[in-house]
């Protein structure tokens, strides 16, 4: 019944997997869904780093000892790899952000949605490969 005055009971359970994050597994992701998932993950990842970062620069205000002590943590290899991942995430997020903005404001962009995503990958790689090279070189040195 669509527009109704006659009450009827709810029936049938909501079966597992039809709602909530579990549903993600139920759909074979098209390109657009991947690009969004990555955008969200990288966005949240960068946010996490940012929050940490704010804490640590706050410590700058407590003087050189406190701050420099903390730096050893940042120089730990695990953290340095994390840093590379951070940069990757930020680059991807930035490039894909531009794609989204293009789609939002350029009326024809929807026709090239796929191509734009591949463009994002290209831009991302073009930025990330040299960056990663420099960072890894600094790290192994």
């Amino acid at each position: 019944m669509t527009t109704g005055t006659v009450p009827t009971q709810e029936r049938g359970p909501v079966t597992a997997g039809t709602r909530g994050i579990a549903a993600y597994r139920g759909y074979r992701p098209p390109v657009g869904m991947l690009s969004w998932a990555l955008h969200r993950i990288t966005g949240l990842g960068v946010l996490l780093f940012l929050l940490l970062h704010i804490v640590d620069i706050f410590l700058v205000g407590y003087g050189p000892e406190t701050f420099n002590e903390l730096l050893f943590l940042y120089r730990h290899p695990v953290f340095r790899i994390g840093e590379i991942i951070l940069v990757a995430g930020l680059y991807y997020h930035a490039a894909n952000g531009v794609r989204i903005i293009l789609i939002d404001f350029w009326d024809k962009a929807y026709q090239f949605e796929r191509q734009l995503f591949y463009g994002v990958i290209v831009v991302f790689l073009a930025g990330f490969i040299p960056t990663a090279f420099l960072m890894i070189r600094a790290m192994v040195r």
Partner: protein, 231 residues
Amino acid sequence: MQVTLRIQRFNPETDTKPHYQEYTVEVEPTDRVLDALNQVKWYQDGSLTYRRSCAHGICGSDAMRINGRNRLACKVLIKDLGPKITIEPLLGFKVIKDLVVDLEPFFAQYRTVMPYLINDEPPPTRERLQTPEERELIEDTSKCILCACCTSACPIFWTTEWLGPAAIVNGHRFLFDSRDRATEERLAVLNQRFGVWRCRTIFNCTEACPRGIQVTHAIEQVKRRILFEQS
């Protein structure tokens, strides 16, 4: 050729959880998936339950997940899928039985956008005029058959209650109709907290639409309309 259908089954009278059941049927490569389902229902297991009517993609009854994507069973041919086909109900809706889901929430979303022409001016004795160019603006969105493929393909819909692409498409249909006079009210509905802004331009909707409607584009047009007309 022989194909194996792996179908998600659920009978509320006996099951607590859905399970999968496999059927093997003999079909032509050019048959529709719906033909294969009919084969099963008619000659192997009459309890298999799904909706269907027109069998050529214009009524929107048989939207379901076929190999993980939302499709109309009558608009995909076996030859494009290969010998093993998984068929499941649409995501995000309550399953009533097997492949039949409760679409009432979907139609409720649709009704919120006031999907009808609003124009209280006294009509002329003949038709209201509309140029072919003005008509062209609603060509795409007026094709919608309310099959729910798009809305139930949208990841945001799986986790949140929001208007969903199909309702927006139908809002667009009237928003861009030169004869409509309710632009402001409609934009107000679409501008709600769970209106167009929930869309994250994921494009699953466009990819799923069996009518080839540029759903995301329509949503973007609505966003821009709100942006440039209301604020």
